[in-house]
Symmetry: C2
Subunit: 528 residues, 2 copies
């Protein structure tokens, strides 16, 4: 029952904040009774249990229960708990009944159970919240909530999840900070200067103007060993990984090892290409790459490549220690394998110099994959691969006979954006802004929940907040109830990895500046 409740709460995604928590909970409960999702006689979870599930203070729930009992929606009896009150149901006139209940200041929308769409229901929730805010101690509606007794049962589909009020999901930069004016300037200059042939079918590796500027930038900023001929521009990391999966499979590679934690999507792309994805174990120092060499007859023994977030493990946040960086490259050298380096947020390191790309250790065995999705915006679909010489032709051929994918004007605009220094300025500005947010996050956690350890904060756009064992799911439900979109570390755990860590992955770069403090406040509320 508690689970069912929590699910209901999670699905509703009400936008509840601060003092409005109790009102919102009451409204959601009323709506659940009204719509029939909570049938008469149903026993509700204890206030303590629901409070834990929803990340609210117990008193908030107890007060809401008490008020709803006073309003006649619920009944409370010692020994029998809190239940949904039984009511006589009016017949045949649901609309009139609804109309009768609707006051002057209340719209009819969302007040009739039958035929209510998901969207209408969400509206009803909000309209209700407004109402209870104004006069929520008023008399309970009477007669009781209507369920029409027509031949067709009322639609009882779950409400469509509304957009959460706060977003701390990792993986997206602050989109409001996209440098529109600077980008537009670069685009205009690039479009004006572009040779006519740029509008035709192009080199599958991408525009040479971009590859030339990128080579200079990657060498300088990420320690990548690179020449323009080694670069293949692609439409995002996912596109690059798809191309690599195809090329490796064509070469007869059977397995690509992956880290214990990462995006399921990435492993899925590899399996989609016909590759196995054996999992490298993880310890407190990071990914145990030494298991590759020790793989022997096990699944790791047949890995022909390994996918790694070496500079900043996603999502756990550590940098691979130097001995392991060396070890994974040594493994690749010894076996003819490849390291696929997913350098998704390498530009963002706060407290010291960035950890250089692994690729510099051996450009012939490491495939470097970088992207503008974190440093600029995912919507641009701009990314790049720096390839060992032996792979350039195969990857280019996998991309196509010509460039079927990447827009030439966009590539030229990005080249101009890089060459003009606008990219460096933007990254620098965002680094300052994200570091400030990271510091505020660390401070808020230290103040409000000092026992919560924050890790992975040296770099990147997200941090991991450790949770007491076994509390991750409940915390996520509480987050949903609070209108906070956030993920748990176990959502990134490979299925075969034992569940040993509980924690939240907090993407502090995601909200715009205007929403950051309320998002942080929502996070604070759900912390232990």
């Amino acid at each position: 029952m508690a689970n069912e409740w929590a699910t209901f709460g999670a699905d509703l995604h009400l936008e509840l904040r601060g003092t409005r928590l109790r009102a919102g909970l009451m409204d959601a409960l009323r709506e659940a009774v009204r719509s029939g999702r909570l049938e008469a006689g149903t026993r509700l979870p204890s206030s303590r249990s629901l409070a834990a599930d929803l990340g609210m203070a117990r008193n908030t729930v107890a007060d809401a229960y008490a008020e709803l009992v006073a309003e006649g929606w619920l009944t409370a009896r010692q020994g029998s708990g809190t239940r949904v009150a039984r009511r006589a149901e009016p017949r045949d006139e649901p609309r009139r009944a609804g109309a009768g209940r609707t006051g002057a200041g209340r719209t009819g929308a969302g007040r009739t159970a039958a035929g209510r769409t998901g969207a209408g229901r969400a509206e009803g929730g909000r309209a209700g919240a407004g109402r209870t805010g104004a006069g929520r101690t008023g008399p309970p509606p009477a007669p009781a909530p209507a369920r029409p007794a027509s031949a067709d049962p009322p639609t009882l589909s779950l409400p469509r999840p509304a957009r959460p009020a706060h977003n701390l999901k990792a993986g997206t930069p602050d989109l409001a900070s996209f440098p529109r004016a600077e980008w537009l300037k670069a685009y205009r200059r690039a479009l004006t200067a572009a040779p006519n042939e740029a509008f035709g079918y192009g080199d599958p590796r991408g525009r040479v103007e971009l590859r030339t500027v990128l080579a200079e930038y990657l060498a300088r900023a990420r320690g990548v060993y690179v020449r323009p001929e080694r670069i293949v521009v692609c439409a995002g990391f996912v596109h690059g990984l798809m191309l690599m999966g195809q090329v490796l499979r064509n070469r007869g590679v059977r397995d690509v090892a992956v880290e214990s934690y990462g995006l399921g999507l990435h492993a899925g792309l590899l399996t989609g290409a016909g590759l196995g994805t054996p999992v490298l174990p993880f310890d407190e120092r990071g990914t145990r790459v030494e298991e590759l060499a020790a793989g022997g007859a096990g699944p790791l023994g047949s890995a022909g490549a390994v996918l790694m977030t070496a500079a900043h493990q996603f999502p756990l946040g550590g940098a691979l220690p130097p001995d392991r960086r060396a070890a994974v490259v040594d493994w690749a050298r010894a076996t003819g394998g490849f390291v696929l380096e997913d350098d998704y947020d390498g530009e963002f390191r706060y407290d010291r110099q960035p950890v250089g790309a692994l690729q510099g250790l051996d450009p012939e065995r490491v495939v470097y994959l970088g992207t503008a999705s974190k440093s600029l915006a995912p919507g641009l679909r701009l990314a790049w691969m720096v390839l060992p010489e032996s792979l350039v032709d195969e990857v280019a051929a996998a991309k196509g006979a010509v460039d079927w994918v990447s827009s030439a004007p966009d590539q030229l605009a990005f080249a101009e954006f890089l060459a003009s220094g606008a990219y460096d300025r933007h990254v620098r500005a965002m680094r300052l802004r994200y570091r400030r947010r990271r510091d505020q996050l660390v401070a808020a956690v230290a103040e409000h929940s000092p026992e919560t350890r924050v890790s992975g904060i040296a770099a990147g756009l997200h941090a991991v907040l450790a949770l007491p064992p076994g509390t991750e799911q409940a915390t996520l439900r509480a987050a949903a109830w609070n209108g906070l979109a956030v993920q748990g570390v176990n959502q990134f755990r490979r299925p075969t990895v034992p569940e040993t860590l509980d924690g939240l992955v907090v993407g502090y770069a995601t909200p715009p500046d205007s929403a950051w403090h309320s998002a942080l406040e929502a996070l604070r509320r759900i912390l232990p």
Copy 2:
């Protein structure tokens, strides 16, 4: 021998024009002798035969032979024909020998056979052309062209093909006419108005703003039955076809029938997706779609879809006649198959109203694929699919969990470009321009080669010039020799289709206005 020669000419892609033809031919012959590709004693083709192969007047070739005999490169004896002269070869000092031959005004580049790169060789060709232009009746070089006698044989790789001077290959619009200012205006307005979320990960179907405007446009301009929810934006026709191949394969479709003539690339994408590509026969009325229904136990009997250029067959240029349009849709309805309609240049029809899209006949059985590659520019990588309702989710899922491919700002810019009317204006302007070129092409052919039939001229960006049986290859070699890039119909013939047509596919939209007349002149020279 004639073949070998012609190949050599085709590979060299010299930029030869008007009065420079003889000088260029002489220089190419000298270079071939010098590099050792034409060995001493080799008999050259007759001047008549080489002239036919290269599309030159016979006198031009005869004069060039005579001059080279006078210069000592060739010998000519009655009954023995024209041969490469025998010369003593200097030993061990190839460089010094070359230096000795180099006059004050001649650079040493390209004069030494050994170690010459392809690029160097091309340069040598151009440098030579300049030289002979100034003093081509000068004395022959002596001693004879050097081949070093070191242990390593000299590199005899073919020269890298230079860019042809004239381009009439089909498939590309006039890139110089890309409406930069109008596009930039649309891009600026779109980027300024874009909501922040547009810079994030988006709907795999593409931006709703674009799908909404596209739906309106396609209904109006192409008679497509469409709602925005049925559209999936993609990065070009190739991307769309890849997605369809994947979806059809997942549905258990084994074969997708293709037309007798078409792009090998497209059939290759389908076979790459694991699909067979049985070929529909062709007659004077177009593709014999009725063979689908009659397929029975043959390869066409297991086709689950057919790929068609119904409005304007590529490359042959006809519109599928109404009874066959109906028949292919009837086949799809009866069998649950799909028609993949490649509407690559549907906007360009000159003499009457455009032929509406086949899709309108049955939106649940026809997948409509459109593109901005011909109407605007391939470099934008913007295309769209209008899907039967039953396929929308599968195609969107094949594209990705989110939009991994198409740039959101580009999509918004294109939406703005469409909505503002700039697209209609551009298409209208280009239609006038292309029609003028088409008329000039038809007139030039009628004047210079009245027996040559021009077909496929009612629409599109290319025409087919019928050639006398068996002369296509020679004509293509002549085109190459004249620095004209153009393709023959047999380059688009599916391998299993018997060779019954000879012709040139002339993409008259391809050159910029400034190069159009000289391209037409080059074409005129090679016509029978």
